[in-house]
């Protein structure tokens, strides 16, 4: 497939700032503001290295997800995330960050949002800017890919 041109950052920011903010509010409540700024600064740092303008929403949601994980870690000692499994001291979605590193961005975002953050498919679809079916498909093919990879190693 021909790569899609990367839009100017202003356009990208304008199209994604509200959905990303809403997503971070759901995950972090009042802590969303710092995470929001960090998400877009990180996106801005990585922006010149992007090769393809497809799935930019999935990409920025993945960044936001990772930052939310870090925030959640910081908040945990104050008991802010009591519902989180604590076996190894990390929330379950933190595990998914590095594991899914090599997935295509859309599948990675779908997997992290579904299995890390337990988001329903309609919200994942909104996050990815795709249909609910496409979100379901991205998550399942991401999981399939992870399974195949774990067999190989």
């Amino acid at each position: 497939m021909e790569p899609v041109r990367i839009p100017p950052f202003e356009t990208f920011y304008d199209e994604n700032k509200d959905p990303v903010f809403a997503h971070l509010r759901r995950l972090l409540g009042d802590g969303a503001e710092d995470a929001f700024q960090e998400t877009f600064l990180r996106a801005l740092r990585a922006y010149p290295r992007l090769k393809d303008g497809r799935h930019l929403r999935a990409w920025v949601f993945t960044i936001a997800g990772r930052i939310a994980i870090d925030e959640a870690r910081k908040q945990r000692p104050r008991g802010a995330m009591p519902e989180v499994a604590v076996e190894d001291g990390l929330p379950p979605h933190a595990e998914l960050g590095p594991l899914t590193d090599e997935l295509p961005p859309k599948e990675r975002a779908a997997v992290v949002l579904r299995y890390g953050f337990d988001l329903p498919y309609d919200e994942i679809a909104a996050a990815l800017g795709s249909s609910e079916d496409a979100a379901r498909q991205a998550a399942s093919s991401g999981v399939r890919r992870l399974r195949e990879r774990s067999k190989q190693t």
């Binding site: 990367i6 839009p7 100017p8 950052f9 202003e10 356009t11 920011y13 700032k17 509200d18 903010f21 809403a22 509010r25 503001e33 929001f36 700024q37 877009f40 600064l41 801005l44 740092r45 922006y47 010149p48």
Partner: protein
């Protein structure tokens, strides 16, 4: 509650510029000759335009300077202040770095010469061509003036025809008259 609060949006835009992450920061500046779209790169002022269609300008800047173009008022502040002073008659010379990296060869030489035409004076297309090293290139200079990326600061309004007629101006002849009148180069 699901839209980004204005304060947070502003903090992000300021931080992006403060961390040096932008190819171009831009803002719209009000002036007596209408709103001006102003863009500043890491090397200096790179665009002033009478056309404030942000979408079009942002696309253009991204193609020329890199994709990290963002509205961020802080880096534009010195330009805004000097433009204000100019329009209030308190400044006759701009003290700003300009980024002419998109201009090549003769075009660049002409724009650099243009920057030396003093406040309140006029020159001709032919004279400017000569000063840039090509006395017969008056017509080419006309085209270069028409595409001047940084009008007002690079004063293409001070360039007129050999017979003293105003000839043309990318921002419209009315603006050219207005600027020359402000500088006292044109009577009433």
């Amino acid at each position: 509650m699901n839209t980004v609060p204005t304060g947070l949006d502003g903090r992000f835009r300021a931080a992006a510029a403060a961390e040096g992450l932008l190819d171009v920061a831009y803002d719209v500046v009000e002036s007596p000759v209408g709103d001006l779209f102003v863009g500043v790169s890491n090397r200096g002022l790179c665009v002033i335009s009478y056309d404030t269609d942000a979408e079009l300008q942002v696309e253009r800047l991204a193609r020329g300077f890199g994709s990290r173009v963002l509205r961020s008022p802080r880096p534009v502040e010195p330009t805004r202040r000097q433009l204000d002073e100019y329009f209030e008659g308190r400044r006759h010379q701009f003290d700003l770095d300009v980024d002419l990296r998109l201009a090549r060869d003769f075009g660049r030489a002409v724009l650099e010469e243009l920057g030396r035409v003093p406040f309140g004076e006029v020159t001709t297309y032919g004279a400017l061509a000569a000063r840039a090293g090509k006395p017969r290139a008056a017509r080419a200079v006309g085209t270069i003036m028409n595409r001047n990326p940084i009008p007002i600061v690079l004063p293409c309004h001070r360039v007129v025809g050999a017979d003293g007629s105003l000839v043309g101006y990318a921002g419209g002849l009315e603006r050219k008259q207005q600027l020359l009148r402000l500088e006292g180069a044109l009577l009433a």
